[in-house]
């Protein structure tokens, strides 16, 4: 990452804050980062149209809040914080929307307010195999204790790979180590946890 002084956005931000040719400098700043922000939303699975709207929301906030940007961090990091905030809000909004479902009143005898029939009654799934579950729970507890015994970096690599399903490359980026080190850690971890990871024999 370039040092703060090399951040090409900062001179533009300064000029805008000093009200020097605001329109032209704002447009330059916008064009410098538009694709980055839009890609962020598209990578998150938003349609091109939604990504465009959300990107506009981000820049709307950027230009409204430019006075609050102190220049202590890189402009890009600040921009990411705003984009991430808008993304989180959008996710929350969508989740809230999804929750608005049917409500069937008990007073209307199983029918909804508008007279629609409720979904047919389905019997609950067959009772869980209690014994099997208990054994699994015991194994999980043993495994979690064994995972905690692993060295810190190895333990984190193991959980990122087998708990979260990340790729070697992603684990390497997160742990700030090489892919080879990730592979070595995983190999060692599996060896150490062999006993806990083994499927129980049938007899």
């Amino acid at each position: 990452m370039p040092p703060l002084d090399d951040d090409p956005s900062l001179p533009l931000v300064e000029l805008i804050r000093k009200s020097v040719d605001v329109d032209a400098n704002s447009e330059l700043l916008y064009r410098m980062h538009y694709r980055r922000v839009r890609s962020f939303f598209q990578n998150k699975g938003f349609s091109a149209e939604d990504a465009r709207d959300l990107t506009q929301d981000v820049f709307f906030r950027v230009f409204k809040g430019l006075g609050k940007f102190r220049g202590e961090s890189r402009f890009l990091t600040w921009l990411f914080e705003i984009a991430d905030h808008i993304y989180q809000n959008e996710i929350r909004r969508k989740k809230t929307g999804k929750r608005r479902g049917w409500e069937i009143s008990l007073d209307t005898g199983g029918k909804s307010e508008d007279g629609e029939e409720p979904a047919p009654f389905e019997p609950p799934p067959s009772p869980p195999k209690a014994m099997e579950n208990m054994l699994e729970q015991e194994r999980a507890e043993r495994l979690s204790r064994a995972i905690k015994e692993l060295p810190e970096q190895m333990r984190a690599c193991f959980l990122l790979r087998y708990g979260q399903g990340l790729k070697y490359k992603e684990i390497a980026a997160i742990m700030k180590i090489s892919i080879d080190t990730v592979k070595a850690h995983l190999h060692q971890a599996k060896k150490r946890l062999k006993l806990e990871l083994q499927e129980p024999s049938e007899d």
Binding site: Q56, T77, F80, E81, A83, A140, S144, Y162, Q164
Partner: protein, 248 residues
């Protein structure tokens, strides 16, 4: 899902729950913390703590990977809608600044009503306070001997010098009326037209009747002051004096 995968998932959940319940554990890292981590600005201890959190938190891992991608250099190329989007944004910003400059009509109407009302109340309050603060002793007090008193024999008409505005007091020195009840003062102009009647006068300790009046009630000119009271036998007792009001 194989048994091992199920057990692994359960073990992951157990570790996650345990980490969440750690005293003083703050869940989820801010973008700023994550950026500090990737820039190597955290202490080794903070870094280890964050790595342990990342190992168990999908959301923060996602955010860190997003940040990594966000900061990667971009390949060249323009997006077709970049310019159109910039124009839209400019419109939106311009609209926002117009809205911010002009308060909504409801607030305008409220302000138009409240501002004069508040100003009026303020002015009234100030003038009231000024009036209350003004010492009573600054009022001109004019003494008038009514005919029945001993001093009245020497003067037939009293000349009273009063400032053009404000209030003044008349101190009426009476004799016969002193014994009466329901005493009132009536002031008539030179043609006998009543100007004011002040009922319910009370005798002071120095046997006078004191009346406070606004100067505008008595412009320069001659007036008859009539003190009227009811005696014990029901008859009326009257004492009259003539005054001439002039500027000082």
């Amino acid at each position: 899902m194989s048994d091992t995968a199920v057990v692994l998932a359960q073990a992951f959940r157990l570790l996650e729950r345990e980490a969440r319940l750690q005293p003083g554990a703050s869940w989820h890292s801010s973008s700023r913390d994550l950026n500090a981590y990737r820039s190597g600005e955290l202490s080794p201890q903070q870094e280890r703590r964050l790595q342990w959190h990342l190992a168990l938190c999908f959301q923060c891992v996602d955010r860190l990977l997003d940040l990594e991608r966000f900061l990667e250099p971009l390949a060249n190329g323009d997006l077709l809608d970049e310019t159109a989007s910039w124009w839209d944004l400019q419109d939106r910003l311009a609209k926002e600044s117009r809205v911010r400059r002009r308060p909504p009509p409801v607030f305008m109407a409220l302000a138009a009503t409240l501002i004069p009302a508040v100003a009026g109340l303020l002015f009234w309050n100030l003038s009231l306070q000024r009036e209350l603060r003004a010492p009573q002793a600054n009022f001109p007090i004019e003494s008038v001997d009514m005919p029945g008193s001993l001093r009245s024999a020497t003067k037939e008409r009293f000349e009273i010098r009063l400032p053009a505005a404000g209030r003044f007091s008349l101190s009426l020195v009476a004799s016969e009326v002193l014994e009466a009840s329901d005493i009132r003062l009536e002031i008539l102009d030179s043609s006998g037209r009543p100007i004011v009647s002040v009922p319910g006068l009370r005798r002071s300790e120095s046997d006078t009747f004191n009346v406070e009046l606004p100067r505008r009630l008595l412009p320069n000119g001659e007036y008859r002051l009539v003190l009227i009271g009811t005696l014990e036998d029901g008859t009326e007792s009257r004492e009259e004096a003539t005054i001439r009001v002039v500027d000082p």
